[in-house]
Symmetry: C2
């Protein structure tokens, strides 16, 4: 079971590492961190770097594709090399998945035209403008495409994916192995639950960071 | 606010990346991935590699120390260079923290003698044998030492830490930014909640992976 994880400068590390921590425990899984070039990529998560161990042309038939997000997803929306790779591998995947603004990349590749999908709550409008039918759900499965909401949601998505591939018991064993019994100190993890002024604060700061185009 | 994250071969990536995703958003935070040697480290998370950008002798007065776990923590329990560094930086930290079996390293360094602490549920007995007073709580704060349970708990711990350092609103804004509104598909994230046969399965597999000594 080959799992390709697209990595690029400016990805949000947890988008990739949350699902990785789950999927690396799937029996028979072979994770491939795949980028335009082999070598280190600079994540958006502080100074944290990750590695692309494989180039796009080396990973042509993954069983699962995982596309993370982050500010670095924005240039990829116009990167035909990456979009063509996404389209191409999607033809033969068992599952094509995204976390956070990774769904923008799937949409830009044309995979989400008229398809219900999710992504980071701040980017739902853009997701719709790229042809998808945005929904605020945390994990959305439409056929073999599974999209997840912002950043941390990739853990939930990956557990659901493991259950689909290997059954509930395997997913539960992995959940227990990573002791995923979340107890956030606040209930502010979605725009519906966070105080209004917090939502506005995060919205304003995010808008200031978006590229002009 | 300098935050030192100890990285080493065999660390569990999510132990470090979960808190990193939270702490990199703390205003004024400067994350320093610190290892015995500068360069790539091989995590326990599939083929995923991370980087040590700093060596131990370059990071002598971090405000926050974060020690992740993973099978790679075991050799460090007898690594006097690392243990002495942990003891030394702990003298001046504002917060000394661990995720998962990172608490074994804190204990081996002598920081947890008689101190209530937590860690991965499979390693509570060993945590006790190293002098700590193990508790099954997800996040345990004793003075300036904060220990967290297995792997995914570092996200909860880091949000609690941000609240202590910068207030509830900042922590809530970060929680919303990473859309941490967990919705695991199962309720199997702790040994109390998972089905008995799943607990036994995970226990047996983990025992088979432990080094003999």
């Amino acid at each position: 079971m080959q799992i390709a994880i697209l990595v690029f400068d400016g990805l949000t590390a947890l988008d990739a590492v949350g699902p990785s921590e789950v999927l690396c425990r799937l029996p028979g899984a072979e994770l491939r961190y795949t980028g335009k070039e082999r070598g280190p990529v600079q994540t958006e998560t502080g100074p944290l770097r990750m590695f692309a161990d494989h180039t796009l042309d080396e990973v042509t038939e993954p069983d699962i594709l995982l596309v993370p997000g982050g500010m670095g997803s924005r240039p990829l929306l116009r990167d035909e090399e990456v979009l063509e790779w996404v389209r191409s591998v999607h033809e033969r995947t068992r599952w094509t998945t995204s976390v956070c603004t990774g769904s923008l990349i799937l949409a830009a590749a044309g995979l989400l035209d008229g398809v219900r999908a999710t992504g980071h709550w701040l980017q739902m409008e853009r997701l719709g403008s790229l042809g998808a039918v945005p929904t605020g759900e945390r994990v959305v499965r439409e056929g073999k495409i599974i999209t997840a909401a912002g950043v941390s949601s990739g853990i939930d998505m990956a557990l659901a994916l493991v259950a689909l591939e290997a059954g509930d018991a395997v997913a539960q064993a992995i959940q227990l192995s990573i002791e995923y019994d979340p107890q956030p100190p606040f209930d502010a993890g979605s725009p519906e639950k966070a105080p209004d002024q917090i939502v506005e604060l995060v919205r304003e700061r995010a808008a200031a960071r978006e590229p002009a185009s």
